[in-house]
């Protein structure tokens, strides 16, 4: 008997409408766990390098983890992955809510979608059954309306949904997929891939799910969270994220005017405290979670905001607020609601608008380009217009829907210097000029400048239980910081494989206890950390195969210059130190210096020799570098 998973992965080819079930062995689950591990497995095995991310040959993988659906706080999550249309690199996003647990309870550990439907469809998965349903009547609807319609169609008012709105349908390159109307698999355009397949939604309902090996232990762990809610999670259940806006300004970490400035006079206007006092009607939770950190806001005027779509997180408040110079809370809440309706990633939406605002300020864009809209920093109405225009690809929205990197290339005339992105992905709302560990983290992450599973070294300066006892200084970018980065990120990434929430503060021993209690395996931290390292190497391998190399692990020019005023006006990332940190990082990881490609030895050590077979890699680091050089010279011939 197995515990914690269903031994079933659903395979759906939308072109042929063929449905089959794959039954992986225990080795598969114990080696890859779920989430990132499973996504990287399928992308490496089944995608040919160089395919169009928005073409039918891309695959879209919905991957819960072994912990998803278990009765444990933070266990309601799933990952979604594909080759990213925003970056052309490995693409992955995580999401909470209830849908992931529902999928697991309906009998499946993942879904791999291939091909493209001839006309819009949705999937209805219920207690082991799978149906492909017509969705022509849903195409173009906001996700609130389509969820209601799907629930009526299938006769199940508790059906959970993962959906796209207009943004995904029109293949906005940073469109997201939203679970249960409020929870976004936000980054790198997974919603655009779903749209490219004519797949509107996946509805799920299940009454079963895997047995747990030790339910009593899971109960004890849950009780521990309940008894330590305030101590371990501070005010998360009261405010959620966004409760430290003033501290963000004082430290220079609150992105303002496209990461250019530090002056944001009224940060409290957009803080979680103000939200609580003015527009919030309640806090909500995800599946089985007592932390309850999700805000729900309701506004009548000036901008009506429907509480059905939840409320803004810190990233949204900063991206659509301070980074656009906007302190109008109601407008930000409205923009958040629109992004949910249309399924747009709020970080990239805010970032590309901030980029366009800086272009407008520098006359690279004019009112002729913007349909007469005065696209200046601080203009909340203009920001709201842009959100709608992007989702509908109207006017300049069609250009911005391509993402910051492509929009800058198209505008030209030096617009690239205002384009703040890594590999095409806009950064999270955290500044590497303060959090120096993020300089390396943003540069080398396989998905781009993603703030999650990254080193926020204002907070993490040591990890005593991992052997990093002496705190590493904030502005350090030497070997000690690289070591801290590697340990921290390897630990963090396991949450994207097992699927656990970052906002439920399990420590490493408790995570081991959870894995043992869910699966019955005799796992320890070594095994789980190796799983994390394996998943990092697999995502790296995918990018190497796509032609990404050392030069792509870099930061936008902006972060090499100080902010115009404030706490970070005399400090910036030193490009030489970053280059050096990359060299140290590749060496510590067992990757070569030219491409940052894993050696065969590293991949064999991680028990994934099949990945080495699919790459042009060697046993030896020096030979790897020589091979990398030969490959790069070939590329430019």
């Amino acid at each position: 008997m197995v515990f914690g998973y269903n031994e079933q992965i659903l395979r759906i080819n939308l072109s042929t409408r063929k449905i089959r079930i794959e039954k992986p062995s225990e080795f598969f689950y114990r080696r890859y766990f779920g989430g990132r591990g499973v996504i990287a497995y399928y992308l490496l095995k089944e995608l040919k390098p160089g395919i169009d991310p928005l073409g039918p040959r891309n695959i879209l993988v919905f991957a819960p983890g072994i912990v998803t659906g278990a009765p444990i706080p933070g266990g309601g999550r799933n990952s979604v992955g594909a080759k990213s249309p925003l970056t052309g690199a490995y693409g992955e996003a995580e999401v909470g809510g209830f849908w992931g647990a529902e999928l697991k309870h309906s009998g499946f550990d993942g879904i791999v979608i291939q091909g493209k439907a001839k006309s819009p469809v949705y999937l209805w998965i219920h207690d082991g059954e799978v149906e492909i349903q017509d969705a022509q009547h849903l195409w173009g609807l906001d996700i609130g309306d389509s969820q209601e319609s799907i629930r009526k169609d299938v006769g199940e008012r508790l059906a959970r949904t993962a959906q796209i709105g207009k943004g995904g349908e029109r293949m906005v390159r940073f469109a997201c997929i939203i679970n249960d109307l409020k929870h976004s698999a936000g980054r790198v355009g997974m919603g655009a891939v779903m749209g490219s397949k004519n797949l509107k939604a996946i509805a799920a309902r299940g009454h079963g799910g895997p047995e747990m090996a030790d339910p009593k232990k899971l109960g004890e762990l849950t009780k521990w969270i309940l008894n330590n809610l305030e101590k371990e999670h501070g005010k998360m259940h009261e405010f959620g994220t966004g409760a430290m806006m003033t501290q963000g300004v004082l430290s220079g970490n609150l992105p303002t005017h496209n990461f250019r400035d530090a002056e944001f006079p009224n940060p409290e206007a957009i803080s979680a405290q103000t939200i609580k006092e003015t527009v919030r009607i309640r806090m909500e939770s995800c599946y089985f979670c007592p932390v309850r950190c999700k805000k729900v806001v309701k506004i009548e005027k000036p901008y009506p905001v429907d509480p059905m779509y939840g409320g803004p997180e810190y990233e949204t408040l900063a991206a659509l607020g301070s980074n656009c110079g906007i302190d109008d809370l109601t407008a930000i809440c409205k923009a958040n609601e629109l992004c949910q309706r249309f399924t747009l990633d709020t970080i990239s939406t805010g970032s590309v608008i901030a980029f366009a605002m800086e272009c407008f300020e520098n006359k690279l864009l004019t009112k002729l380009d913007t349909n007469g809209i005065d696209l200046t920093f601080g203009n909340a109405e203009a920001m709201l217009h842009m959100v709608e225009m992007i989702a509908k690809r109207e006017g300049i929205g069609d250009l911005l829907a391509e993402g910051t990197m492509r929009a800058a290339e198209k505008i030209g005339k030096g617009a690239e210097k205002f384009a703040v992105h890594v590999k095409g992905e806009d950064p999270g709302m955290h500044d590497p000029r303060l959090k120096r560990g993020l300089a390396l983290g943003y540069a080398v992450k396989p998905t781009g400048a993603d703030h999650m599973n990254n080193l926020h070294d204002t907070w993490t300066r040591s990890m005593p239980s991992f052997g990093i006892i002496e705190p590493v200084p904030l502005d350090d970018l030497g070997p000690k910081k690289v070591r801290l980065y590697i340990y921290k990120v390897t630990f963090e990434i396991i949450k994207n494989c097992l699927l656990l929430c970052d906002f439920v503060h399990w420590d490493e021993d408790q995570i081991v206890e959870i894995v043992r209690a869910v699966t019955g395996w005799d796992s320890n931290l070594w095994e789980i950390m190796k799983g994390g390292e394996r998943s990092i190497n697999m995502a790296r391998a995918f990018n190497i195969r796509e032609g990404f190399s050392r030069k792509d692990d870099w930061l936008p020019e902006r972060f090499f210059h100080p902010q115009t005023s404030g706490p970070l006006s005399d400090t910036a990332v030193d490009p030489n130190k970053l280059e050096n940190a990359k060299s140290i990082y590749y060496s510590m990881m067992g990757w070569d210096q030219v491409r940052g490609a894993p050696t065969r030895a590293k991949l064999e050590e991680l028990d994934i020799s099949w990945v080495a077979d699919r790459l042009d890699v060697t046993w030896d680091l020096c030979e790897g570098s020589r091979q990398g050089l030969r490959n790069s010279s070939k590329k430019f011939e």
Binding site: E232, Q247, S462, S465, D475
Partner: protein, 80 residues
């Protein structure tokens, strides 16, 4: 010499729930001496801004300096 210490968010508990404290220090004291005075617990990580600029534990303080202690938690595990 006198130094003004400000705290934000939950770190106010280290200032007896006040927004601001005035501390008397000997000349050439560093930020680390403030930490010692305020009995910072081992598990807490603070970020420090002195007169509007990012500082660290070794920063030497001067009379009249304004020092802000900030928390910079970002969800994440509770390793410090």
């Amino acid at each position: 010499m006198k130094v003004h210490v400000k705290a934000y968010g939950i770190l106010r508990r280290n200032l007896n729930d006040k927004e601001e404290l005035e501390l008397r220090l000997t000349q050439s004291s560093t930020v680390a001496s403030i930490f010692r005075k305020l009995k910072k617990t081992k598990s807490e990580t603070w970020m420090v801004v002195v007169n509007g600029k990012i500082a660290d534990e070794n920063t030497i303080l001067n009379d009249g300096d304004v020092l802000s202690i900030l928390e910079q938690i970002r969800g994440g595990a509770r390793h410090t």
